[in-house]
């Protein structure tokens, strides 16, 4: 169902999709047929060199929970204008059920020179009345001047600052875009959810909460040579929360080395004059973390999250995320100071 030549017509793609549903319906066994599900349009912008199979597997994994019309745009660094498209379906049969559930997928190949043409192609392909999320997998694409027109279609643009060469610069670029009104998400922030939730849970206990205004020092250890965006985000989020209880601690970043670079290995909140930290979370082996607070030690699992797990979380928040926006502003300030 590919479109020939260097241009594509959205009407033709929509027609191809209608045909696809008819043929899927005919293939369906008996009266059960197929069930079409859609809760959003998910546009994926990726380099042509990006692992197509991995993207496909991630989308397939996301579909049961976030059934979407997926539009995957693969970019070629080429000056000649050129676009091509094909449509197909992702189907799955829930265990023990008779009916297949299917989502549609459109794959578009575009040269860099065609980026200005994309808005007119993608806009008619989005599903009416449902949110549009743009997942930009390449920093290069985000920085293409014409990319902002494509991004304007989306309610939210998901990036990964860990893919940028310079984390501090990435935070600056993203903060500028956010300040200009763009709704963004950063998978580096998403990676912190479990860390943040553990910290929040520690201070649900009133005995621990009473210590919070005493925090005078925050230590965040990481594995990268340069401080990663995750560390800046966590520091900014902690500072924001602590300011609300009247604490204004000093932040120390420490590199412990290791892989992956963005991964944190320790966060510790301490108070002047106290030998023991008020609270600490330290990665031990593998995905395990040791949580210490108030003399109690507990274990938690902090698995490294893959693209599927990160996107699964982000897609469940189609609107703005005020906590992230505050953390981004704070992180950019810390990184660029």
């Amino acid at each position: 169902m590919g479109s020939a030549g260097g241009t594509i017509a959205p009407d033709r793609i929509l027609h191809d999709m209608a045909d696809l549903w008819v043929s899927l319906g005919k293939e369906g066994e008996g009266d059960a047929g197929v069930l079409r599900a859609c809760s959003m349009t998910l546009v994926v912008a990726a380099e042509e060199s990006d692992d197509a199979q991995a993207i496909g597997e991630t989308l397939a994994a996301l579909m049961p929970e976030h059934p979407s019309r997926a539009i995957v745009i693969r970019f070629r660094a080429e000056d000649r204008r050129g676009l091509a498209a094909r449509v197909f379906a992702q189907c799955w049969m829930p265990f023990g059920h008779r009916q297949q559930i299917c989502c549609e997928q459109i794959e578009i190949t575009a040269s860099d020179a065609s980026v200005p043409d994309l808005e007119a192609v993608v806009l008619p392909l989005t599903v009416p009345d449902l949110p549009v999320i743009l997942w930009c997998r390449s920093p290069r694409l985000f920085e293409l001047p014409a990319f902002s027109e494509l991004a304007a279609i989306a309610q939210k643009v998901v990036l990964d600052s860990a893919a940028f060469a310079d984390p501090a610069a990435a935070l600056g670029v993203m903060n500028s875009a956010a300040s200009a009104g763009r709704s963004l998400a950063d998978l580096s922030w998403t990676r912190l959810t479990r860390w943040r939730e553990l910290i929040a849970q520690i201070f649900e206990n009133r005995a621990q909460l009473a210590n919070l205004p005493l925090v005078s020092h925050i230590l965040i250890a990481h594995r990268a040579a340069a401080t990663p965006a995750t560390a800046y985000y966590l520091a900014a989020w902690l500072l924001d929360g602590l300011a609300q209880v009247g604490a204004h601690p000093r932040v120390e970043f420490r590199s412990d080395g290791g892989e992956p670079a963005w991964r944190l290995s320790l966060v510790e909140l301490s108070a002047q004059g106290r030998p023991d930290a008020i609270a600490s979370i330290a990665l031990t082996e593998g995905a395990a973390a040791e949580v210490k607070a108030g003399g109690l030690v507990s274990k938690a699992l902090l698995p490294a999250l893959n693209d599927y797990a990160l996107m699964r979380e982000e897609l469940s928040i189609p609107g703005r995320d005020p906590a992230f926006e505050r953390a981004l502003a704070g992180a950019a300030k810390l990184a660029l100071s």
């Binding site: 959810t193 943040r196 929040a200 205004p213 949580v291 274990k299 699992l301």
Partner: protein
């Protein structure tokens, strides 16, 4: 001014869970092993519990803390469903598990319990918060409540105290009131959490989302458009060794008085002004009080009592109820109950609500079927399928989901209609593991959210309705058995619906 945790992020984090200790009376029993500990471990695995969360188990059997931990470890490994086991998480969670042996009739147990709770509070910073859980035999509820009251363990110097009790909440209206009075000697009604695990099921909660989160259903949700409602809770198994208990209870008391009445209340209640626990429970309670209490001469026309007989199913002989272990050969117990309830309010006047529950029915299924009135005029020629009524099916188990059946034109020439189904499947649409009912309800009790728990006035309202039926049944000699195992119940049940021109839907 008290400090607020500044790190909460409701958009991404699960609900906030305060520190607390949980005391389980009947810690060596089946419910603790099969449901409570696996649910608590799962909550710990999901990082939903405070790091200092503690469990203090109490039962008669002498055991050390370590022996109890070993026992609970074995139970968690055996009964943990749909979830991985992690040794490190268990090791940290198990540090907070304690045990004390004692007889619930022994007054000395409760001061000792108080002392133990103080130790645990000091060691694990539980903030003086205690959740008592009665997982013991119902006959022991009152001695436990009296012991707690006498030792004043139900009153907190700091923090809160709550008590969760399992059904049955009495065996009739009078005994339910006695139980409540005893509980109230140690706890305020707002501190009593009567658990009905049906209300913890995702789909039952989803009824509220469907009704009050959408605008399109509310205008249809009344006597003008709804023809009747069928609520079915069928089990394919028999009494499975619980014959002695079950012959004193029966399907009417065991299912309809509590689970199905609560489901009915959720389906039929008026919209709540807010989603605060008492606001929702007020509406449920009002609905239960609106169910018409049958007069004795109405009972036999509007109810059906049944008991299964022996049968041969799938190449296997299955015993009748009277042949089950521990059951008297002349038992008059209802293993099947069907009732027609009428709700006397403006919304539902004249709409029958048919409830049925039984054992040894053809399959295990719980669902609610809302049948809408047929189109007022049949303009399409054809067979009866062209006038099939619209049905909204809410499936509670085993495949949680919602289906809407409506008519559609058959492709091709001519105007032939056929019914089609629009399905929403809870599991496959969200893909996430649904928490078990016990995970949901335990967390609610720790958080202090009683929305899904039953209040005393609701218990009394449903007993008032059921007592009126039970009194007539107790005085009637039924010709049991009256349905074969593996069938959909007695013929009288079909007749009951037929009198109003309805038929049971086959789930």
């Amino acid at each position: 001014m008290s400090l607020e945790n500044p790190f909460q992020d409701p958009l991404r984090f699960e609900r906030r869970v305060p520190e607390c200790a949980m005391v389980i009376f009947g810690a060596n029993g089946d419910l603790t092993k099969r449901k409570l500990l696996p649910a608590l471990y799962r909550l710990a695995y999901e990082r939903r519990l405070d790091a200092g969360f503690a469990v203090l188990g109490i039962s008669r059997t002498p055991m050390s803390d370590d022996e109890f931990r070993e026992k609970m470890l074995a139970s968690v490994k055996e009964f943990l469903e749909d979830s991985p086991f992690d040794t490190d998480v268990w090791a940290a969670f198990a540090q907070g598990i304690f045990y004390m042996a004692g007889n619930f009739d022994d007054g000395a147990l409760f001061p000792a319990l108080d002392a133990r709770l103080k130790e645990i509070n000091a060691a694990r910073h539980t903030g003086g918060n205690v959740l008592f859980y009665l997982s013991a035999q119902p006959s022991q509820y009152i001695p436990i409540a009296q012991g707690i009251a006498a030792a004043n363990v139900g009153k907190a110097e700091s923090g809160w105290r709550r008590i969760v009790i399992e059904k049955p909440f009495g065996h009739d209206l009078a005994s339910a009131r006695t139980l409540s009075n005893e509980l109230h000697s140690a706890f305020q009604e707002s501190e009593v959490y009567r658990i009905d695990h049906y209300l913890g099921k995702e789909t039952v909660q989803n009824i509220l989302a469907l009704r009050f989160g959408n605008g399109i259903f509310e205008p249809l949700w009344n006597r003008r458009y709804v023809n009747h409602v069928q609520i079915t809770a069928a089990e394919s198994i028999g009494v499975e060794g619980r014959g002695a208990y079950y012959q004193e209870a029966g399907a009417l008391r065991d299912m309809i008085q509590n689970h199905l009445s609560q489901v009915l209340a959720t389906i039929a209640m008026e919209p709540s002004a807010t989603f605060r626990p008492d606001s929702v429970r007020d509406e449920r309670s009002k609905l239960l009080r609106s169910i018409r209490v049958m007069k004795p001469d109405e009972v036999l026309r509007n109810t059906v009592s049944g008991q299964y007989g022996p049968a041969h199913i799938g190449g296997e002989d299955v015993p009748g109820f009277r042949q089950e272990q521990g059951v008297k050969p002349e038992a008059q117990t209802d293993t099947y109950a069907a009732v027609t309830f009428l709700v006397d309010n403006w919304r539902w006047a004249g709409v029958p609500f048919y409830l049925r529950s039984g054992k040894r029915l053809p399959k295990r299924v719980t669902e609610i079927a809302i049948q809408f009135n047929a189109a007022p005029l049949a303009i399409f020629n054809g067979d009866e399928t062209t006038t099939a009524p619209n049905l909204l099916i809410l499936r509670i188990q085993p495949e949680e989901g919602i289906s809407l059946k409506f008519l559609s034109k058959r492709p091709g020439a001519g105007m032939k209609l056929r019914p089609v189904s629009m399905d929403f499947n809870y599991g496959s649409s969200f893909g996430e593991r649904s928490p078990s009912a016990y995970e949901t309800l335990l967390l609610d009790a720790i958080i202090g959210d009683a929305t899904l728990y039953t209040r005393q006035d609701m218990v009394e309202a449903s007993w008032a309705v059921v007592d009126a039926i039970q009194h007539v049944w107790d005085e009637t000699k039924f010709d049991f058995p009256n349905y074969g195992a593996g069938t959909w119940g007695p013929k009288a049940s079909d007749d009951m619906l037929a009198r109003r021109g309805h038929v049971w839907r086959q789930p």
